[in-house]
């Protein structure tokens, strides 16, 4: 077993443990409906966290995604309701401008060598402010397209896969392809591993950096659109602190915040773990919502401490010792 997969397996194991524990504890927890709802409820977060995964693998960070979701939501709602645009046209406009916005942030970070933390922080303030300027009130969306989206679902062994979940899986497959089977994906890993080495090896560092932030803003906008499928409205105060949930998911998913190491596939489990915790809390009824935060903080700690041990090589030695022993397991 390769040590680089260890955090990924640990994440999946934690997910299975939590899910199993919930199933033992509560009736109907194992129903397909609960399982598929996990995807529907967290689709937007998965999409956003996937974008964040790319940024973090590249060695950066993006704090603007939560505000992006709010800004996309309110813009889409206003375009559809006040300007009578067809949703598809609104989506096209939003996705284009979000991508350009991300590229601009990437440009500032790359060209002027500004810290990503500060640039995206400014981006976060800007987008939140822009949503406030567009509308302070929540704008409901009433459109036949949205009704169609709400009705759409693929039945799946008693559960149902909604449009959001379908989009999410599409993004997931696209992202895995992008990360592991394209030049751009390899460049991102190279950039995060060591920027100077990447530059010397001829990796187009500047283009890759700008591309990563553009991609992330694009995915955040997709997440924002999926979020409107979920809420049927746009609200400027929506998705406060979502960037932290996304970052936490990425870290729990086994991606190192130092860059260069990580998997898109792990991130989805990072989100699902948070989703399962929330489901357990809502099943339990007596636990309060703040336990979610405390528990996620605890999980974060465990995962970070584990990663730390691994990167210091202790775990690697441990694994190699295991391998050295003549135990026949599998192959």
């Amino acid at each position: 077993m390769n040590t680089k997969y260890l955090p990924l397996f640990a994440t999946i194991a934690v997910f299975l443990l939590l899910y199993g524990w919930g199933g033992v504890q509560f009736e109907n927890f194992f129903s397909m409906r609960v399982f598929t709802n996990l995807f529907t409820d967290n689709a937007f977060l998965v999409i956003i966290a996937i974008g964040m995964t790319f940024v973090i693998i590249s060695g950066g960070i993006d704090l603007s995604v939560g505000s992006m979701v709010a800004c996309v939501g309110i813009s889409v709602a206003v375009m559809i309701e006040n300007y009578n645009l067809h949703p598809f046209l609104a989506f096209a406009i939003i996705l284009t401008s979000a991508t350009l916005f991300g590229a601009f942030m990437g440009f500032l970070i790359e060209h002027y060598d500004l810290p990503p933390f500060i640039v995206t922080l400014a981006g976060m303030f800007f987008l939140r402010g822009l949503s406030f300027v567009i509308s302070l009130e929540s704008v409901p969306i009433n459109h036949s397209f949205y009704d169609a989206i709400a009705d759409f679902s693929i039945p799946l062994f008693g559960g149902r896969l909604t449009a959001s979940a379908v989009i999410m899986f599409g993004v997931l497959i696209g992202a895995i392809y992008l990360a592991h089977y394209t030049r751009f994906g390899r460049n991102i890993y190279a950039l995060g591993g060591n920027e100077n080495s990447a530059l010397l090896l001829g990796v187009p560092v500047g283009r890759t950096k700008i591309g990563v932030y553009a991609l992330n803003s694009f995915l955040a906008a997709v997440g924002g659109i999926v979020f409107t499928f979920y809420t049927f409205s746009g609200y400027s105060l929506a998705a406060m602190g979502l960037e932290l949930d996304a970052i936490a998911s990425v870290v729990i998913g086994g991606t190192l915040l130092t860059g260069g190491v990580g998997f898109v596939f792990g991130t989805i489990f990072g989100v699902l773990i948070q989703g399962v915790i929330q489901t357990i809390i809502s099943f339990d009824g007596s636990l309060n919502s703040w336990w979610t935060k405390i528990f996620i903080g605890l999980l974060l700690f465990i995962f970070i401490a584990m990663q730390r041990l691994m990167s210091s090589g202790r775990a690697a030695r441990f694994v190699s010792k295991l391998r050295a022993k003549p135990i026949k397991t599998g192959n």
Binding site: I61, D113, G129, L244
Partner: protein
């Protein structure tokens, strides 16, 4: 004596060219422009009047409102100087606020000193947690403090049981609402904290150690600086600063809101530090410019509010200012601007 010659001499000797290189220059220019705008727009911005032996006015208001962020930024400056960052200060504000409100409301502790002491111990524990993760487990500061950022508000809600606790306590109210020498007491606290920190850093080797750790932790350890211990202490200090800010905020509104107390204040503090010219890469700290950074951001907010511009524009203006300040500090941007204003004269490359 030829006055003309003296004048010319002075003009020559005064190093005009070195002024823009001074780290105080750009933050002060930004602040000056803001104040100038206010002076032209509405001179009453500078009016200070005395009522019941207390000073009132927009300027005083700016300082008063800036007090919590000023304290957070003080701790943040030192943390950033060691090459770290503390994302958890907003959460610590919430935890400390919740603790104070709980202690008062439940009647557990009566004396103000007792409440303040417990609050400081709580904030020290929070800071020590961050510090231990960073210094002894070697976890990257941004992630190490992310844990408390995520969990902290949960802990605060646990203390307040999800309620917004309100209270009345004459002694505790003084911290955020009292007046000392005609000025709000919070301003006094900020002045004490800044002057005290400045003295400790300059009169002892601590400031040097912090800068040294920020520049090169390994080398510092080799020359015998206890890098781990000092890092830990810096996070504890940041925690205590956050605790003080939390007490000011809680005592000001006479209540603790675990969800919203100090929300995003870590970002404001980091912004203030960066606007003040301390680079996020560490190895340098400028306490004075941090304070200017805080005042710039607060003046900006107050200016927007007093000019009747809708509040919703605050965020956008703030972000534009931040990017502008960052760009001005970027070497490449300066060179580009210089290139536009003064195109390179020849190929000899002597245009320095």
């Amino acid at each position: 004596m030829n006055l003309e010659a003296l004048y010319q001499g002075l003009l020559r000797r005064f190093q005009w060219k070195s002024i823009p290189k001074n780290r105080l220059f750009w933050p002060l220019i930004a602040l000056g422009l803001l104040l100038l705008f206010n002076l032209i727009n509405d001179p009453s911005f500078f009016a200070v009047e005395i009522k019941d032996g207390r000073l009132f006015g927009s300027i005083i208001d700016v300082f008063n409102r800036a007090a919590p962020i000023a304290l957070l930024s003080l701790g943040m400056t030192l943390v950033i100087a060691t090459g770290g960052i503390d994302l958890s200060v907003g959460a610590i504000v919430a935890i400390v606020g919740a603790t104070c409100a709980y202690l008062i409301q439940s009647g557990m502790v009566e004396s103000t000193v007792g409440i303040v002491a417990i609050a400081i111990v709580v904030s020290m524990i929070a800071g020590a947690w961050n510090g231990a993760l960073v210094a002894f487990l070697g976890i990257q500061p941004i992630i190490a403090t992310l844990i408390l950022l995520v969990a902290g508000r949960g802990i605060a809600q646990l203390i307040t049981d999800g309620q917004i606790l309100t209270f009345n306590h004459a002694g505790f109210e003084f911290i955020g609402g009292g007046f000392f020498l005609g000025l709000p007491f919070s301003i006094t606290l900020v002045v004490l904290a800044y002057v005290g920190t400045h003295l400790v850093l300059k009169k002892t080797a601590l400031g040097l150690f912090i800068v040294s750790i920020g520049s090169n932790p390994t080398a510092s350890q080799f020359v015998g600086i206890r890098a781990d211990f000092i890092k830990m202490m810096v996070y504890v200090f940041s925690g205590v600063c956050a605790g003080l800010a939390g007490m000011i905020l809680t005592s000001d509104i006479l209540g603790a809101d675990a969800n919203n107390a100090g929300l995003w204040s870590e970002l404001d503090a980091i912004l203030a530090v960066v606007v003040g010219g301390t680079a996020l890469t560490g190895g340098r700290y400028y306490i004075g410019t941090t304070l200017i950074g805080v005042i710039i951001l607060q003046t900006l907010t107050t200016t927007i509010l007093t000019n009747g511009l809708p509040v919703q524009y605050t965020h956008m203006v703030k972000s534009a200012v931040v990017i502008m300040v960052m760009l001005v500090m970027s070497v490449r941007f300066r060179n580009e601007i210089r290139g536009v204003i003064k195109p390179k004269r020849d190929k000899s490359g002597t245009s320095k």
